[in-house]
């Protein structure tokens, strides 16, 4: 075999020049970079969509709870709300008890990324309930309030924020 494929002849065949190798590497690098960028963008979009969906779900669930509360406390003695030092939502008996309420919904979905070793982040929810005499006029007098502007603001672990608004009226509108 050594006679047929002499070592010196095999390894002395002309190979690629440095320029050719560099051009090939550059072309490969450009192709791989393009592919990687598009894949990363796709992954980011998917993660962002996932996060938006979860944000909407978290905000909506709290908003639906708020929408179920009466405008005015039905009890003789109004139960204390968040600003009166009651942190438990279950004790709230009217819409305005939620004003200022904040909580943290833990991230259950593993597809929302977080840094390993750090505390598991969550979606921060914050509620604002404003008394309005009419939709445009803010009041602090409950007796004059005919409307309530409710805003549930949610902040994702990534820092993205959005607000889900809701209007409540003192008198239910019947169909």
């Amino acid at each position: 075999m050594s006679g047929r494929f002499p070592h010196s002849r095999l390894w002395s065949l002309p190979g690629f020049s440095l320029i050719e190798a560099m051009v090939a590497c550059a072309v490969l690098a450009i192709a791989v970079t393009g592919l990687a960028v598009s894949l990363a963008a796709s992954h980011q979009n998917s993660t962002a969509a996932d996060e938006r969906g979860m944000m909407l779900q978290c905000a909506r669930s709290l908003l639906e709870e708020l929408a179920g509360k009466p405008f005015k406390s039905p009890n003789a003695v109004d139960a204390p709300g968040w600003k009166q030092g009651q942190p438990a939502r279950v004790a709230y008996d009217d819409l305005f008890d939620y004003d200022g309420y904040t909580d943290l919904v833990p991230v259950e979905n593993a597809s929302v990324e977080f840094e390993i070793g750090k505390p598991k982040p969550g979606f921060k929810r914050a509620v604002v309930v404003q008394m309005r005499r009419d939709p445009a006029t803010v009041t602090t007098n409950m007796g004059l309030a005919n409307f309530a502007y409710v805003a549930v603001t949610i902040t994702a672990p990534s820092g993205k924020t959005f607000t889900l608004p809701y209007w409540a009226a003192r008198t239910d509108l019947r169909r």
């Binding site: 639906e64 929408a67 179920g68 009466p70």
Partner: protein, 211 residues
Amino acid sequence: MWTHPKHHFRRRGLSYPELCLGLAITAIVGAAIASFTFATAQAWRNTEAGISAETLTHVATARLNDIVHGARLLGACRGGSLDTPGLAPAGVLLWTRDSNGDGQIQTSEITLIGHDPVKKQLYIHTQPAPKIDITWSYAAFTLPTAIDSFAAKGNRQPIASHVDGAAMSVTFDPASADRPRLNYQLKTTVQGKVERFNGAVTMRAPVSPPT
């Protein structure tokens, strides 16, 4: 005039070690490309499935919100199950409107939101107004057996597909002033990806039960 040198056409072919080396490198590169393509395709499929499941739950949620927000009363509710297919499927009756303004519940004014575990659908079921619309008492409207008897006739329209399991419950305390709320859980499977979704929807303007 330039001519091809004769030796130019007599270049030797690949030697055996060269061929083996070439094949080995080609196989390694091919395997790498194949695994990369497979992983990419898999990730793409997962993303697509996730987006499909999310869209599906959003559409179902929007439809449920639309129906329940505008409803007047919640009636019979059957729990159903997310993971036990043998149980009676989830369903809830709603008095959606008072078409004739008589303040009474009639068959044509009722909507059933239910789950069909065989077709894996969440559906709404209505009965068109017959010549004489039957008036329901509130007790009959809240009776669990009313779900099946109502579902026996009428039209069914799917509002979400790929729903493997559904569970529903009603939160309503007559002693409190809180509005009734429908809590629901959906389990969807799209392209093998299982998603669970918890939602709640509160009636915006409920009325008192008719007497």
